[in-house]
Symmetry: C2
Subunit: 203 residues, 2 copies
Amino acid sequence: MSQEPAVRPRKQPVQARSRAMVETILDAAARILIEEGLDDMTTNRVSERAGIGIGSLYQYFPNKQALVAELAHRHKQETLAAVKEVTFTPDEPIQNIIRRIVRNHIRLHSVDPEMHIALARELPRLGVMDWHEELNHDIYKSLRKLFDAHPLTAKYANPDLVLFILRTSVEAIIHKAIIERDSDVRSGALEDELTRLVSSYLV
Amino acid sequence: MSQEPAVRPRKQPVQARSRAMVETILDAAARILIEEGLDDMTTNRVSERAGIGIGSLYQYFPNKQALVAELAHRHKQETLAAVKEVTFTPDEPIQNIIRRIVRNHIRLHSVDPEMHIALARELPRLGVMDWHEELNHDIYKSLRKLFDAHPLTAKYANPDLVLFILRTSVEAIIHKAIIERDSDVRSGALEDELTRLVSSYLV
DNA sequence: TCAAAATACGAGCTATCATTCGCATTTTCT
DNA sequence: AGAAAATGCGAATGATAGCTCGTATTTTGA
């Protein structure tokens, strides 16, 4: 798998100052996106806030969409870098496995949560509906593996639906808890309760 | 409780034809909002699709925001009309109660689900963050009551978090299932599984 | 050193969109 | 009928935002 282009800069910055400028632009864009939303993130405002000329911005980003795409691309890379797939052996206590999966997913959402929230809020209308799905891909794989490896699978008439319910609820709860229940996230209470939710439903 | 104004039409249509026109406008707006999103729902396009003049639109809606507000307002009214709060007595089997709450919530989302999805997608950036919360208010009340009435409450160290987890997961699962798992919704499989999820977690 | 390449700039072009306003048509009511 | 009220209309306006392009400045490297 090669890196996704994410609509690359129209020109690669080669000198140090121009590379720095690209970072400055992205920082400014990120702040505005988070604080005021995509509509108020005009290219002129970004350049103003970054303290550079609007022309310079377009030297490296062919259009506004490319700017957003690059922000999303970077967020995805940072996020995925922080998470590794959960591995386990079938004889391991299932509680432990579930807890590790949950913990991993919480960590996934803890990387720059403000950007995560902003992207989740703004990207759907750009037709990037599968962004979230893609980000959560590893979690889904872990859950799927747990599901296939453990004998408990056989119990369910509709394992597909069960899996859907699990990943949807885990994802939504963490997503919302990051915003509304920071203390529970930090204290580990969320991890405990989520583990309990998944365990009790599954076993 | 009086009807919320929702930014009322600048002028009340009194003749039959003008009242019909307001409906036509709202229908056109709804279709475009659902199919193409808020950005592409320009007032001129709405008037064109409705087959009326742009000036006529502004006779009854002071601005675009009022148009969207009226769509949201109507959706909310239709939705709430379809749901009544779940009542029960403490000695009733908890499984039954949970099932009725779940069923009610599924029905809540089954009223014009396309509009529901569109509003959930577009409203957050208009600062209407609590729209969803408000819609689900009755469900929350039901859950809260169940929680307070039943002795099982005492078991939990952090009942607030438990309630948060329940309402978030139930809400998210139904919301997503309406889009992605229509057959499971219709067959009742979703109701079964959700009931099981809540029951097993709670008891 | 000095010319070529890279970088930076921002006034202004173009397109889009919400909204207005003066006028035409239809309905109401006496 | 016929005047007044209600309704309907759409070209035009004003504002905003994405983006371009000619020019000025800085860096490179021979």
